[in-house]
């Protein structure tokens, strides 16, 4: 809406209530009327409406960013609510973007929300992201992080990056003009299984609040031109001991994304991350076999002698355990090999199967020949065999 103030020749472009809504911005010289106009013109794409996307979307909507694009294929689960503050208990089972749209409309009805209820892939990323000024990475896999980065480099749109695990957070701005990109910092992702996901390793609920808010801050700074964005710097947050610092991120001339520009097309990063490190043991003996939860239950019921080893941590054992299992946390596995017999069948399990796959490999390397990994860990055991074992 455009109007002219009585007695003034200065064109104004906000409704009267918007001057009040944004008054605390308007009186900041670093933002002011020009900055607020820039925010209203801005189009920001948030990939992921989860832990990081929640606070980022809330603050960007409140700040008056004109268009927010939201990409998320997932539905709200009760286990999200400890940290994903866009969503509430009444939203369980709804698509996150539907829940987000309602919440954001309540915070600021002047914000236009564009919803993309899909998984971001190499095939759809360009079409979704074209026309957005910057992209905020609130994803939760290495595959999508490399995809978002390469997308940003190819489109020339800054990648407002944040990432979290347990008590540690990282934030930066990648792919800005003359700045480094995510591949300059981490040229390749870890092999599947080496780094646990938050679902297995845990995350402090407040941590995405801290880091997502930093991402929103950076987005607002980039849009308004205020201050010095985190280009060429990585902000590291250790919430457990309150160590907060920035380190330098250099642009790598050999980077295939922003250096040599060898990456000209988006590729299915899912495949990139799904390729495990060559495992000499796998080559020699074949991959560690899985055992399905129902099959294990039948074997145990039939009296088949099996050593069932739980490689989770003691605090997880306190939450839930499979009857008859023996706790040997992964970190102490080697020092407790003597408790196991190489001649007996051994089934290892953890929460969802990642840590136990490592344990199975290490047992085999130590000469234990009859080792299986419980597929889906105690989570699938709870769902498919014994609902009395709490799922967490």
């Amino acid at each position: 809406m455009t109007a002219t103030s009585p007695g003034s020749t200065v064109a104004v472009d906000f409704a009267p209530d918007e001057y009040l809504r944004y008054s605390r911005h308007l009186i900041l010289p670093e933002i002011g009327l020009d900055g607020q106009r820039a925010l209203r013109r801005a189009r920001v794409l948030l990939v992921g409406a989860g832990g990081l996307g929640s606070p980022a979307a809330l603050y960007l909507a409140a700040a008056g960013v004109g268009t927010l694009g939201l990409v998320d294929f997932d539905a709200v689960d009760v286990s999200n609510l400890q940290r994903q503050i866009l969503h509430g208990t009444r939203d369980i089972g709804r698509l996150k973007i539907d829940s987000a749209r309602d919440r954001l409309a309540d915070i600021n009805p002047g914000v236009h929300v564009e919803s993309f209820p899909v998984r971001l892939t190499a095939a759809n990323a360009r079409e979704i992201a074209t026309g957005f000024d910057l992209i905020l990475d609130g994803t939760d896999t290495f595959a999508t992080r490399y995809l978002v980065n390469d997308l940003c480099v190819l489109l020339g749109a800054p990648n407002v990056y944040g990432s979290i695990f347990r008590f540690d957070g990282q934030a930066s701005v990648f792919a800005a003009a003359d700045g480094p990109c995510y591949r300059c910092l981490y040229p390749a992702p870890p092999p599947a299984g080496l780094v646990p996901a938050c679902a297995e390793g845990g995350v402090l609920g407040v941590l995405p609040g801290l880091v997502g808010t930093i991402q929103a801050t950076e987005a607002i700074k980039l849009i308004t031109g205020a201050g010095t964005p985190l280009v060429g710097r990585l902000l590291l947050v250790d919430a457990l001991h309150w160590r907060v610092r920035t380190v330098r991120v250099q642009r790598d001339p050999a980077c295939p994304a922003c250096g040599t520009r060898a990456i000209r097309d988006l590729t299915d990063a899912e495949q990139l991350c799904a390729v495990p490190v060559p495992d000499e043991l796998d080559a020699a003996f074949g991959a560690v076999p899985d055992i399905e939860p129902v099959a294990l239950a039948e074997r145990l019921r039939s009296g088949h002698p099996i050593d069932l080893i739980d490689v989770r941590e003691p605090h997880e054992w306190e939450i839930a355990r499979i009857e008859g299992a023996h706790l040997i946390p992964l970190a102490s596995l080697e020092s407790r090999f003597h408790e196991l017999s190489p001649d007996r069948d051994i089934v290892v399990h953890c929460k969802v199967g990642g840590r136990s796959a490592q344990a199975a490999r290490r047992l085999r390397a130590a000469g234990f020949r009859h080792v299986w990994n419980l597929a889906g860990g105690i989570q699938r055991w709870s769902r498919e065999v014994d609902p009395g074992v709490p799922e967490y």
């Binding site: 992921g48 989860g50 832990g51 990081l52 996307g53 990475d137 609130g138 994803t139 939760d140 896999t141 290495f142 992080r145 944040g162 990432s163 979290i164 695990f165 347990r166 008590f167 540690d168 990282q170 910092l185 981490y186 040229p187 390749a188 992702p189 870890p190 780094v195 996901a197 938050c198 390793g201 995350v203 995405p208 990585l234 590291l236 250790d238 457990l240 001991h241 160590r243 920035t246 380190v247 330098r248 991120v249 250099q250 790598d252 970190a331």
Partner: protein, 89 residues
Amino acid sequence: MRINLPSVLTPLAGGHHTLDATGDTVGQAIDDIARRFPALSPRLRDSHGAPYPFVTIYLNDEDIRFLGGFETPVRPSDELSVVPAVAGG
């Protein structure tokens, strides 16, 4: 010198989030803590002793890949920080 570890690695380092290490190069300092905490070793470098592309090691505020990698000389007053890639969101 002091080596800073992220909280994800502290359980593998006896619960310490900082460790004192000795050595004339980054690689020697990493060797020192890997020897004292064997479970930490595979999280810092690969089975051939080479740095991972998904674990950045900083000497003070500089990425060692742009210095001399594990051969980069260090002084006792320096500080190393291990910064692994994390993907949670």
